[in-house]
Symmetry: C2
Subunit: 196 residues, 2 copies
């Protein structure tokens, strides 16, 4: 009966992961502690170490779930727009909106050090490929319609990833610009410029 054991293990791991996700969404990374997670999961803090190496490993298990949530959020939000630059722009803005809504998830994706947890770059790929994955179909469409050349698409794709990361870093970390309205305007200016 090795099956039963695995089912139980997966279940308990899920309890810890769910508890961690709750904390990340509501209070942010600073409130994530071994004892805090275990309390929410209904276990002792020591039990956590039977299922995860430490809280960091646990936290990075949330990345996959949040990534999917962000994909869904942006896809739904941009659904009304026609394929191409219009749709791409809507996706881009919804992507930014998601992280502004959940700053704790931004911290997890872009600020939390993963130097310790030997991850083989898996988490990095999940994070870095999120925006490109979201926009892939529209890039195809834009290239097909010859609105931009292949080369231009590549550089724009890269610029969008770098620019969005920079915008979130400055806005969520340094309150620059100081209002959400200014932030949005800057985001629109940026993507309009890059899609020129």
């Amino acid at each position: 009966m090795v099956r039963k054991k695995e089912i139980h293990e997966q279940r308990v791991r899920g309890y810890f992961i769910d508890a961690t996700k709750e904390i990340l969404k509501s209070e942010g990374l600073k409130s994530v502690s071994v004892r805090n997670i275990a309390d929410r999961a209904g276990y002792s803090f020591a039990t956590l170490y039977n299922y995860f190496k430490d809280a960091k490993e646990l936290v990075f298990h949330c990345v996959e779930d949040f990534r999917k949530e962000c994909l869904d959020y942006a896809t739904v939000k941009a659904a009304k727009q026609p394929a191409g630059t219009r749709h791409l722009k809507a996706l881009f803005l919804a992507y930014l909106e998601y992280f502004v809504q959940y700053p704790g998830i931004y911290e997890l994706f872009f600020k939390e050090a993963l130097s310790d947890i030997d991850d083989n770059g898996n988490t990095t790929m999940l994070v870095v490929s999120l925006l490109p994955t979201l926009c892939e179909a529209d890039w195809q469409h834009i290239a097909k319609q010859k609105e931009l050349s292949r080369k231009e698409v590549e550089t724009s794709k890269s610029a969008l990833l770098l620019g969005s990361t920079g915008m979130l870093s400055l806005y969520l970390g340094r309150r620059y610009p100081s209002s959400y309205a200014s932030f949005l305007k800057e985001a629109e200016n940026f993507i309009d410029q890059q899609l020129k």
Copy 2:
């Protein structure tokens, strides 16, 4: 004799600031602790609280010094290039190089939460204005030579700040791209594209 007291106070504050700067440069933000700083400064950890509200306040006093250091570093490094896009590009790459060399200073500038310390956006301005200040003369030159329009200069200026912040976030935080050579190539591509 209020003078003597102030001199002494400034001196001791300097000892703590220097100790903090040493730690930030060598071991990074994770090693900054009240006891660690005080040890290096040659005082008890309790003495720190007589001169600073807490370690965070102390840490942000380092921002000004590092900002100046980065300005000097990039200015010297780009000195050989002729004014304009060539010089601008050299400054941009040196700016990135400085933070790659001292990841602890990058963390301090772009990752450390300043939500707690009510700073009136002073630290934000120091951080955000660094690259624009560095490049100001070259932007003037470029606009004068009509290589780019006023409007184009503004959007490029903004894109450079956002892009550099994003690049450093992804490279230093997520090891993307995985090698420094790739990082440099991406940086060059980005600035060439933005200066089109």
